[in-house]
């Protein structure tokens, strides 16, 4: 079983002294991180952040949880086994656990609700203020509705619509078949629709 030796790779990274090269070939100041980890960070930070943002109430909380995910990944990078999971799947697994911990701590404090002033970062490029307000309200309803779903439903929805994973990647992350993913997504969407409609009518 091959394990990543992060320390060794960090010391043998082929980058000029004090500079590192991004995936796009752009030169920027070196962060001093292990070479592999830096590439993963560049490539998958957005995915992790969006997955987390879909599941937590505020951008600030999403930033905290995302920081926590990468800190945990950095601490345990030497235990990463590329034969078991791709880096993205591994990072998303850490993210799922971190989100669960975060939600558990919030549940104890009873502050899971997404309020209207917490969603502006999810709305952009709308032509008028009225449309922005309407869209914010709709997103608020959707996010609050998703909080009322079962954890498995929340997870599959955030992997698809937050992290933007394809069905095969969701199947790998959850350890189920592609067909099962399609069925679960279908059901989760149906339940989300019911929850949102019930709340709107009441």
């Amino acid at each position: 079983m091959m394990k990543v030796d992060a320390t060794e790779r960090a010391s043998t990274a082929h980058a000029p002294e004090g500079r590192a090269r991004t995936a796009g070939g752009r030169s920027r100041p070196a962060s001093g991180l292990p070479h592999d980890f830096e590439a993963w960070y560049e490539e998958h930070r957005g995915t992790v952040f969006r997955y987390v943002r879909f599941r937590v109430a505020t951008r600030e909380a999403a930033e905290d949880v995302t920081s926590d995910v990468f800190m945990k990944a950095l601490r345990s990078i030497q235990r990463y086994d590329p034969t078991l999971a791709s880096p993205r799947t591994w990072l998303l697994r850490i993210a799922r656990n971190a989100v669960t911990d975060h939600l558990r701590s919030l549940r104890r404090r009873g502050s899971l609700h997404v309020s209207l002033d917490r969603v502006p970062d999810l709305v952009a490029d709308v032509p008028s203020q009225e449309e922005r307000v309407m869209k914010e309200e709709r997103i608020q309803r959707l996010l609050n509705g998703s909080q009322a779903l079962r954890r498995a439903d929340q997870e599959i929805l955030s992997l698809r619509y937050g992290a933007g994973l394809g069905n095969a990647e969701i199947a790998e992350a959850l350890g189920v078949s592609n067909n099962a993913v399609a069925v679960r997504l279908h059901r989760a969407l149906k339940r989300l629709k019911e929850v949102v409609e019930t709340r709107e009518s009441s």
Binding site: T7, A10, S31, G32, L33, P34, F37, E38, Y41, R45, G46, F49, R50, R53, F54, R59, E63, T66, S67, F70, M71, L74, R75, D117, P120, D121, L122, V123, A124, D125, Q129, E130, V133, R138, I139, L142, L157, R160, Y161, G162, G164, G166, N167, A168, A182, L185, H186, L189, K190, L192, K193
Partner: protein, 254 residues
């Protein structure tokens, strides 16, 4: 910014679920621009600290462990050192059994209890000189029974005031002047958190937004109005000085 427009299609969705699928797929999730570099720098620092600790830590830990082991071996193997060690341990045990000082800040009469830490640190002869006097008496007797303990000098705390708005009502009017009329008509309002420097004359300088209202036009209005706010400046011991202040002006339709 993310729009998941390239997601795998979900086959056989009824129209209402297909609409919800499209709506969720078009949800835009924006990262704060400075978040990525901030986190990367934080991770870099964490990694460097860890690498340093892992690099040098085992040498330091090894040296400390070796020194302690050597001291223990010497203490146990050499008879005079062993006797001294036993005596010191007994003295320390007595210290921990000593009752607390009596009320009024005065110690109890000498000899009534075990020795104090000060006497042990002074290294007096004690029982070894054949005297029946307990350790610590010599130190305690240098102060007569009625003499009060020396008090610590009191620290002078400078008298301070903090920046306050000169005229709240005129500041409200000022804010309303900058409140965009179309937002007023639509009833869109909010509160903006501002961080500003109030100089020694009470004038405002260097305004920054600490918390957005969520409506960029409101944020802009508050930032434009803030330099015209007037404050009573901070004073320290009667002198006016500059100070960082926070205000949260609210812009709401009446």
């Amino acid at each position: 910014m993310n729009e998941n427009t390239n997601l795998d299609p979900l086959g056989d969705l009824p129209p209402e679920l297909a609409e919800l699928d499209r709506e969720l797929a078009n949800l835009q999730i924006a990262e704060r621009p400075s978040f990525a570099p901030e986190l990367e720098a934080e991770l870099g620092r964490a990694w460097q600290t860890r690498a340093r600790w892992r690099g040098d830590g085992h040498v330091v830990r090894g040296a400390v462990a070796a020194s302690l082991t050597a001291l223990l071996l010497v203490g146990v193997a050499v008879p005079p050192a062993r006797a001294s060690l036993v005596t010191r341990i007994q003295q320390l045990l007595e210290v921990f059994q000593e009752p607390a000082p009596v009320a009024g800040g005065e110690f109890a009469p000498a000899g009534a209890q075990g020795p104090g830490l000060a006497s042990i640190m002074a290294g007096e002869g004690g029982a070894e000189d054949g005297s029946s006097r307990r350790r610590g008496e010599a130190v305690r007797e240098t102060r007569s029974a009625g003499e009060p303990l020396t008090e610590f000098p009191a620290f002078r705390v400078p008298e301070s005031t903090y920046p306050t708005l000169v005229d709240l009502e005129s500041d409200r009017i000022l804010m309303r002047r900058y409140y965009p009329p179309e937002l007023q008509r639509q009833g869109v309002g909010g509160t903006v958190g501002l961080l500003l420097w109030v100089d020694s004359t009470g004038a405002v300088d260097n305004v920054k937004m600490a918390r957005s209202s969520g409506v960029s036009a409101l944020d802009r209005a508050a930032l434009q109005a803030a330099p015209s706010l007037r404050f009573h400046p901070t004073t320290r011991s009667g002198h006016s000085v500059g100070e960082l202040g926070r205000v949260r002006p609210g812009l709401r339709a009446s």
